[in-house]
């Protein structure tokens, strides 16, 4: 892994300018934050609560009456109920959004070939959903996920009503977003997807909300085992 600057890439996070003290690496043909300078200097694994920008990681979506059956036929785990998700050992995450829409994502360190999957999952009754270049993917980690979210979101996201494997589509800090509860590197995290146009605003708003719990930006190294 060699360190690079995001400007060298056509594809980079929508909010790369916000990652001033960051060390970037190349992931899937794009610049991704590995860690933040002061954190690596301190030799710590990361702050108490971290916010990581995974926007550049590959993902695609499909929807339509045949989408669910196609996923089952392809031998991919399919979330059984609307608004739930599954995560495979290879690092493939499948979100089921509502009844007929699915997003397939590769989490950091995943060993799945999403491009091949995307080509395989085509048939009548399946329509592509573009969720890569129009959505930011932020991951919040740490012990106070529900407490932080309670400051910006009206839905109860405490463990007893929002277990690992659940997702909600709602409004957070007044913008629409998808909040997913799952595991990464053995930790409970919330993945948050929101319109790329408001990503910079949301990044600042979430960090502001995390402030009282010692929250700070963290790189993807904190999410890999």
């Amino acid at each position: 892994m060699s360190l690079i600057t995001p400007e060298q890439f056509d594809s980079r996070s929508f909010i790369y300018r916000k990652h001033q003290q960051a060390e970037f690496i190349e992931v899937a043909g794009a610049a991704q934050v590995l860690s933040y300078k002061e954190q690596s200097l301190q030799g710590q694994s990361g702050p108490d609560m971290g916010l990581t920008d995974l926007s550049v990681l590959p993902r695609f979506g499909l929807r339509g009456p045949a989408a669910g059956d196609a996923l089952v036929a392809a031998g991919l785990l399919q979330p059984e109920k609307p608004n739930t998700l599954t995560l495979s050992d290879e690092g493939l995450m499948v979100l089921r959004l509502g009844y007929n829409e699915y997003w397939l994502l590769a989490v950091p360190g995943a060993t799945v070939d999403l491009q091949a999957l995307e080509q395989q999952l085509t048939s009548p009754g399946i329509y592509p959903v573009y969720c890569h270049d129009s959505y930011a993917w932020l991951v919040m980690s740490g012990d106070h996920l529900a407490d932080v979210m309670a400051k910006v979101c009206a839905v109860d996201l405490r463990e007893q009503s929002f277990a690992s494997g659940d997702l909600v589509m709602t409004s957070l800090a007044r913008v629409s977003g998808i909040i997913c509860h799952h595991q990464m590197a053995g930790k409970s995290v919330f993945s948050i997807f929101s319109d790329s146009a408001s990503a910079g605003y949301l990044w600042d708003a979430l960090l502001d909300a995390m402030g009282e719990f010692n929250g700070a930006p963290s790189g993807q190294h904190s999410l890999i085992k």
Binding site: N83, Y99, M169, T170, S171, S176
Partner: protein, 105 residues
């Protein structure tokens, strides 16, 4: 805040929803009169009572149907549109004679 019970996402603040107008039968645009079309597009009963309406849960892009009282603002029932619409609504454009056929230069 007012809470609306979304059939897909459960109870949510009303600020997450967008009103989509009354559920009505669309006249056949190719064969109805101008008056019928105008009535469909512009006119409304607009009385005090229970109306059946489209609502959108914006964060999930999910459309559903609600029965709501326009006086008390009470929502009596919300349900998935599949209760009413069992097949896809298709729009067929009228086949107009193409311009090139008419032009005789």
């Amino acid at each position: 805040m007012k809470i609306i019970n979304c059939p897909l996402n459960g109870p949510r603040n009303s600020s997450e929803f967008v009103h989509g107008g009354e559920v009505r039968q669309m006249p056949d645009p190719n064969n109805c009169t101008d008056k019928e079309w105008a009535d469909y597009v512009f006119y409304s009963d607009n009385q005090i009572g229970v109306v059946t309406e489209w609502w959108l849960h914006a964060p999930s892009g999910y459309w559903f149907i609600a029965e709501r009282h326009t006086g008390s603002d009470e929502i009596l029932r919300t349900y998935d549109p599949s209760e009413i619409y069992t097949s896809r609504v298709e729009f067929k454009a009228k086949v107009e004679p193409s311009a090139s056929e008419e032009v005789t230069v």
